[in-house]
């Protein structure tokens, strides 16, 4: 009898535990697990949209690298202390620059796409093409982010070295405590991913519409990025090959120069390779905080830079370079019918003119005449005096400085060429940035070193 009772008890208890398990089986219904999130190509695209959306704010922090360059000769402390500290190459004082965190945030968003590629089913040929087209963009965008982090936070890689401590090579979305990979390995990954992205891009038959094209990191952007990375790693052959895709693309006439920035879809304007759509017209983003840069921080442009432009250079117009005003590269300037600059322009991350400059520099040693020819096309279109003799590297660099002012590339250029051209940057307080200075490698910020046992 007792045993019957006890077995009933056990059964009752068992039933209770089982039924309680069922009661506890509560699935969250406000969020979606990854198997369901990525069970169609449309959602896969939405995850990519999120990457692009986050890219729109890049101008705010990538531009801070310019304050560490010789384009500015003074920044006062105050409103945006980060810029002040960067100007004096003090990377440890708080607040630290946000570039590291921002670029790795982008990488995480890109890894969402890369890691979940296998979950996305393809029902049709179109789906298959779109899936690869999306995936290729994510791969290429990740390469770009890795390149930016490596440029700032690792020693320079020029193809001959490669074992120096680089950056964490973050290829998975999940939590990792990565040791920094050797710099050679980082660039190998970047080039491999770009190759893969290009292959996939070519294999899919998908071609974006004319309107969508500059907003997508498509085949042109991949090649432009490859040219940029190759140039910065001293691989002139590759840089020249990649940039050669663009040197037949016509530049705007100098009268139409403002169109480059303000009329992205004008039929003559073919200079834009990749841009992000600014959000300030949707109430989602603040206007670029030009007060931060030009007024509160009292940034003063370097005299050398202002003096470098020839008299008729359209780029010298006060709308585009001015010690006191935000360049019109970024904002729709105040006009007769409105008193304030109240909107940002869509940010142009890759432009044809940069490819001209990369091409010219890449062929400078092997074919200086060709370099001169291409540079002169650019100079003519910008209203600058034409070169009468073959240029040297310093002149190419000077042209880059003028053309790409305030686009976040000058510090990278100094890092790669200051040794060769013996460029020394000096600050008002006596701080000096000499060629090959360790100050060219930004300190890895606290957000990484705080918690990563591989750093210390």
């Amino acid at each position: 009898m007792k045993s019957i009772i006890s077995s009933i008890k056990i059964a009752a208890l068992g039933f209770f535990v089982l039924s309680s398990c069922e009661l506890l089986d509560v699935k969250p219904d406000h969020v979606v697990p990854e198997e369901i999130a990525f069970n169609d190509v449309e959602s896969y695209q939405m995850a990519l949209n999120y990457v692009y959306r986050n890219l729109t704010s890049s101008v705010n922090n990538m531009q801070c690298t310019d304050f560490a360059s010789d384009d500015f000769q003074g920044v006062i402390p105050g409103y945006a202390p980060t810029n002040y500290y960067l100007h004096y190459w003090d990377y440890q004082s708080q607040p630290q620059p946000y570039v590291w965190g921002y670029q790795y945030k982008l990488i995480a968003n890109e890894n969402v796409l890369i890691n979940n590629y296998d979950l996305v089913p393809v029902g049709s040929e179109y789906d298959a093409q779109m899936k690869d087209y999306i995936y290729a963009q994510a791969l290429a965008l990740r390469s770009w982010s890795l390149f930016n982090v490596a440029q700032l936070y690792a020693p320079r890689y020029d193809g001959s070295n490669g074992n120096e401590v680089g950056i964490p090579l973050k290829l998975n979305l999940a939590l990792e405590y990565l040791a920094p990979a050797p710099i050679g390995k980082v660039y190998q990954q970047i080039f491999d991913d770009l190759d893969k992205a290009e292959r996939l891009m070519l294999a899919t038959g998908h071609r974006p519409s004319l309107y969508d094209k500059p907003y997508q990191f498509n085949i042109d952007a991949i090649r432009a990025l490859r040219a940029r990375v190759a140039l910065f790693t001293g691989n002139y052959d590759l840089a020249g090959q990649a940039a050669a895709h663009f040197i037949d693309v016509p530049l705007l006439d100098k009268e139409q120069y403002p169109m480059l920035w303000q009329d992205e879809f004008g039929s003559e304007n073919q200079e834009i390779i990749f841009m992000t759509h600014d959000l300030s017209d949707t109430d989602d983003a603040d206007l670029i905080d030009y007060h931060e840069i030009y007024e509160s921080n009292n940034a003063i442009l370097h005299n050398d830079l202002l003096a470098a432009f020839s008299a008729d250079d359209v780029r010298k117009q006060s709308a585009f370079i001015d010690a006191k005003n935000m360049p019109a590269k970024y904002i729709i300037a105040a006009a007769d019918n409105k008193g304030q600059a109240d909107r940002n322009l869509h940010y142009k991350h890759f432009r044809v003119a940069e490819q001209y400059l990369i091409y010219a520099e890449a062929v400078l040693d092997s074919n200086p005449q060709e370099a001169m020819r291409v540079l002169n096309i650019l100079r003519e279109k910008r209203g600058a005096e034409l070169l009468s003799a073959v240029p040297d590297k310093a002149e190419v660099l000077e042209e880059r400085r003028k053309e790409l002012f305030a686009e976040g590339l000058r510090f990278y250029d100094l890092k790669r060429l200051s040794h060769e051209l013996n460029i020394v940057v000096q600050r008002a307080n006596g701080a000096v940035l000499v060629p090959n200075s360790p100050l060219y490698n930004w300190a890895v910020p606290r957000e990484e070193t705080n918690s990563n046992p591989n750093y210390n």
Partner: protein, 1005 residues
């Protein structure tokens, strides 16, 4: 050291006291006796005990404070004191006017004393640590927006940090802290890294969140129990590891219906800035001139080379004029605040039914116009015995609270206002919203009134209970409960055209509103069995509990509002919307067994098996358990020589508890958000909800306690001395993860922590004569903690100043080591680890400057009764911890922007080579990292309140009035501290805890 007594206040109190302090005539033939009836064993007051005139039916009942008052007696009258489950006592009145009685329980330890189906005995106290806070604290304490403000200094080991804002909940910790306090991004407030360390709050059996504390009427609370050790919290399974606070509300008292009306009116004068005085005009102008602060009038009115004679004359004159203007901005922006508190209650019952009804209206003004809190609550409780075996109980309450405050405060604004500016000024030099991101309006009054947040919270509670005595010793009980809360937050930023015209988003104004609702339902089914044979007694109980919580959220945010309509409906078409929905389920099985031998030896075992839906299926269930034993040594024969002790009990317990705080389903695996209202090029975006940690486990606490409960000198002194060691493993903390993951922090099980300490709680009747009583209670807690393991790491850093290191305390100040000012160039100098001097950029942060938690905390209460007069005082104290003087740091950093520092600052700063000064040249002090210069000892002792109560009932001789009490009290009168900031209890930039003065009447009829 500085002492800040308010002499006039003390004087005022003395006057009040003297007014009422007329000796009660003793020679009357008919006399009134009053006193308190307590449990002889524990010293707890007994509610509803009867006091009868012997051989008559005339009598009175003790109220919620255990107090009775019996008039019309003769010296030869004999009184009978009785309470169910206790031995009655008879006493002849004699010429005493004060008779306190301690009743001895007749029943065995484990026998139930059942009133309306509820066991009045808390068997947990036999072997566990359950601290109890009596009614009096809530009914006679200060009018409070939230009852938790009254808990401070009442229980050893219960630490309360209040913000001083109307209606805001405090931070509560039991037996030490598991959490790292980190200042939030704007460097203003100390915020906890997570809420994982909050105790569990239970209101009449149902779990509640601290966010609805301000919807509870403090006067409805009959007691608050604080479960501290590992054994007594086992019954709360996965939620008990940080301790439990049980709140019980009043039930009816059987007897004649009592009506009570109470009104209290409080005034809060404008408080100062504690230990800080602001720089006056003359010094400020001189400083602006000296430092070349270009926006400052002191600089502008400085003659420059090339100025004409007339210009120089005008500049000098203006400068001179301004030196004479000294605006007290705190006074300009603040107001004297009033607090009104009205309470009505009815309590009564007959035979098998009792009831309690109350309603309360409370309105508190803060220190400026937009700051206030408003509360309305009502409660109805009913108990009924259906027959001898079945009792049912029902309670319901509805509470609404509404609070408002500005996004800034007078204390936040005054540093941006010059002493030489006045309310009539039109420009304010340090308040340009176009160049300074943290300002919205130039005019400080606009900034104070045009940006505000309002919060409305509703709470509805329904609980029913059924007890059924199945047969002798067998009891079944069932409880069903439901709590619904609805809270609505609105946040208004009015537009500022000037700022908008400058192209800044913040000038457009914004309105955000969010509503969250939650419904928590609970079913609890239990069975218990008690048996007593010979010298043995056992009690067994077991049951199951099921709690389901559903919550919904909805909110929108709109930028750009029109000033032509009410901002709260002025949402623009581009509003972004957020919605949320959660459901979680907790289910638990529990069992408890007690065994008692001869009332000498007690053994308890307790077990709970909890499952929670917030963890992955494989790890959903965890077992919490505990064991305890107690030995009543005074019952041993050999103890007789030490008869000075009425009680001498040693108890020990061990318990394993869990804590799920902070864990969410979406933290365990990747989930994607398809509700993001953002778009890109018009297309939708999806994103990872949050970064996830697949290895999350519940935090586990294992606690040893060893305690001595003692009673001495014929029930004059009660006390508990207790030591504990609490080992927490799988400590849950939100810590930094490498930013290369794309996310900055994550909730993780980081390691092991040990809290240990001891507590002493003593309450004593220091003096008791026939008409005078002085009771004292003291509590003292000492707690230290140490990280014992950080799984595979030696140290973990969090943000800019959080630091965990094996072997160190959890909340250590982690700062740069200040070395002084370089006399050559006025730049700050720091020490590195090897005591070498280094500059700011490379100076390392280190520990060794104390911890932000006080190892010693406690309170000290004294109550004096003489006739109808009562005086009580409460001191609270904390010792041994440091605080970061955030205000001083901010002042110094912002001087160069034109903000106002403290008086005498100009003397403290380096100005020219060779100066040896404590502070650097302000221009070189913009680094926001934390610095040992601002770490200060924050020990304090504070006179929290003085309360005077006087019962006028007898003087007034109004028919039907049982008591007519008038009260006067003063709060936060005096603080003794060496801390040089605002207030040692207030972190960040704020105002000291406000002084307040209350007058009240309390009438029972």
């Amino acid at each position: 050291m500085k002492i800040s007594p308010t002499r006039s206040v003390l004087k005022w109190l003395v006057v009040v006291v003297l007014c009422f302090f007329k000796p009660v005539a003793q020679a009357q033939i008919q006399q009134t006796v009053e006193g308190i009836i307590t449990d002889a064993k524990t010293g707890e007051s007994l509610i509803g005990a009867t006091v009868l005139l012997k051989n008559t039916s005339s009598g009175v009942i003790t109220n919620y404070e255990g107090h009775y008052s019996f008039g019309g007696l003769l010296p030869e009258s004999t009184l009978v004191f009785a309470y169910i489950g206790y031995e009655s006592q008879e006493l002849v009145v004699g010429n005493r006017t004060l008779i306190d009685v301690q009743l001895k329980p007749v029943s065995q330890d484990l026998e139930a004393v059942v009133v309306f189906g509820e066991n009045m005995k808390d068997v947990r106290t036999l072997t566990g640590s359950v601290g109890k806070i009596d009614t009096k604290v809530f009914s006679a304490g200060s009018p409070a927006g939230s009852f938790d403000q009254l808990l401070q200094g009442q229980i050893a080991g219960l630490s309360i940090t209040t913000s001083g804002e109307p209606g805001e909940a405090s931070t509560i910790r039991i037996r030490g802290n598991n959490s790292l306090g980190i200042r939030s991004k704007d460097d203003v407030e100390l915020v906890s890294a997570n809420r994982a360390n909050e105790p569990l709050y239970i209101l009449n059996g149902t779990p509640i969140s601290s966010e609805v504390f301000n919807t509870i009427n403090p006067d409805d609370i009959v007691d608050v129990r604080v479960l501290k050790d590992g054994l007594s919290t086992v019954e709360y399974g996965t939620r008990g590891a940080n301790g439990v606070i049980e709140i019980k509300t009043k039930r009816g008292i059987v007897g004649q219906t009592q009506y009570n009306v109470r009104y209290q009116h409080t005034m809060k004068p404008i408080s100062g800035l504690g230990g800080i005085s602001l720089m006056q005009s003359a010094e400020k102008l001189a400083m602006e001139r000296e430092l070349g602060i270009v926006t400052g009038l002191g600089y502008i009115y400085t003659p420059k080379p090339g100025d004409s004679e007339e210009e120089i004359f005008i500049k000098n004159k203006r400068y001179k004029d301004l030196e004479g203007v000294n605006t007290n901005w705190l006074k300009e922006l603040s107001r004297i605040a009033q607090v009104k508190d009205l309470q009505l209650s009815i309590s009564g019952g007959a035979d098998d039914t009792r009831y309690y009804v109350s309603t309360n209206y409370y309105n508190e003004e803060g220190g400026y116009n937009n700051s206030w809190a408003d509360r309305f609550t009502t409660r109805f409780n009913l108990d009924h015995n259906l027959n001898e075996a079945v009792a049912i109980g029902f309670d319901s309450s509805v509470g609404r609270s509404k609070t408002s405050k500005s996004n800034t405060s007078p204390a936040g604004l005054i540093y941006t206002l010059q002493p030489y500016e006045t309310a009539a000024s039109e420009s304010f030099i340090a308040r340009d919203p176009i160049t300074n991101g943290s300002h919205y309006f130039v005019n400080p009054f606009d900034d104070l009134y045009n940006r505000y947040a309002e919060k409305t919270a509703w709470r509805v509670d329904l609980n029913t209970r059924l007890n059924w005595i199945i047969s002798d010793g067998f009891n079944a009980n069932a409880a069903l409960g439901m709590t619904y809360t609805d809270s609505e937050n609105s946040n208004v930023n009015l537009p500022n055209q000037v700022v908008e015209d400058a192209g800044l988003q913040k000038g457009k104004g914004s309105f955000a509103k969010s509503e969250s609702k939650s419904l928590s339902s609970r079913v609890n089914l239990g069975l218990d069995y008690r048996k007593h044979f010979n010298n043995h007694a056992i009690s067994l109980s077991g049951g199951a509990e099921y709690i389901e919580t559903q919550s919904w959220g909805f909110g929108f945010n709109s930028i750009g509002i029109s000033d032509k309509v009410d901002p709260e409906i002025g949402a623009n078409p581009n509003a972004t919307i957020a919605t949320s929905k959660f459901r979680d389920v907790l289910m638990g099985l529990y069992a408890r067994a007690n065994y008692n031998f001869k009332s000498r030896y007690n053994f308890t075992g307790s077990f709970r098996y909890d499952g929670s839906s917030i963890l992955p299926a494989s790890r959903q269930f965890v077992p919490a358990w505990g064991l305890g034993a107690a030995w009543n040594m005074q019952r041993e024969e050999w103890f007789q020589p030490m008869a000075v002790f009425d009680q001498f009990k040693i108890r020990a317990s061990y318990g394993v508890n869990y804590n799920s705080g902070g864990i969410r389903q979406t933290l365990g695996m990747p989930f994607y958000d398809f509700t993001n209202s953002d778009t890109y090029l018009g297309d939708r975006v999806i994103n990872l909800v949050e970064f996830w940690n697949p290895d999350l486990r519940f935090e586990r606490a294992r606690q040893w306690s060893l305690a001595l409960d003692f009673g001495m000198l014929n029930h004059r002194i009660y006390g508990t001395l207790e030591g504990y060691i609490k080992n927490t493993d799988d400590l849950l903390a939100t810590v930094d993860i490498p930013a290369s993951n794309g996310y900055g922090d994550l909730l993780r099980n980081i390691g092991k922590l040990q809290n240990k300490g001891f507590e002493l709680q003593v309450s004593a009747v220091t003096i008791r004569t026939d008409d005078f009583r002085w009771t004292t209670s003291l509590n003292f807690a000492y707690n230290i903690n140490q990280i014992t393991d950080l799984y595979m790491q030696d140290e973990i850093k969090v943000g800019s100043e959080g630091y965990y290191k094996v072997g160190e305390a959890i909340n250590s100040a982690y700062v740069k080591h200040w070395a002084g000012v370089n006399p050559v160039n006025g730049m700050p100098l720091y020490y590195d680890e090897n005591k070498n001097l280094v500059g700011g950029g490379v100076a390392p942060q280190m520990i060794g400057f104390g911890t932000y938690d006080h190892p010693i905390t406690g309170g000290f209460t004294n109550i004096f009764n003489y006739g109808h007069f009562e005086l009580s005082t409460l001191f609270t104290y904390a010792w041994g911890g440091v605080a970061y003087n955030q205000l001083k740091a901010q002042m110094i950093r912002n001087v160069k922007n034109g903000e106002v520092p403290y008086e005498g600052f100009l003397d403290d700063i380096w100005l020219s080579p060779g100066d040896v000064k404590p502070l650097p040249y302000p221009k070189f002090f913009s680094d926001t990292s934390v610095n040992s210069l601002f770490v200060e000892n924050a020990s304090y002792i504070r006179l929290k309140n003085i309360i005077v109560r006087y019962n006028l009932g007898e003087h007034l001789k109004l028919k039907g009035i049982a008591s007519f009490k008038v009260t006067a009290q003063a709060n936060n009168l005096l603080t003794i501290t060496g801390y040089e900031g605002i207030d040692p209890e207030v972190t960040g930039v704020g105002q000291p805890l406000p002084r307040s003065f209350t007058l009240g009447v309390d009438v029972t009829f």
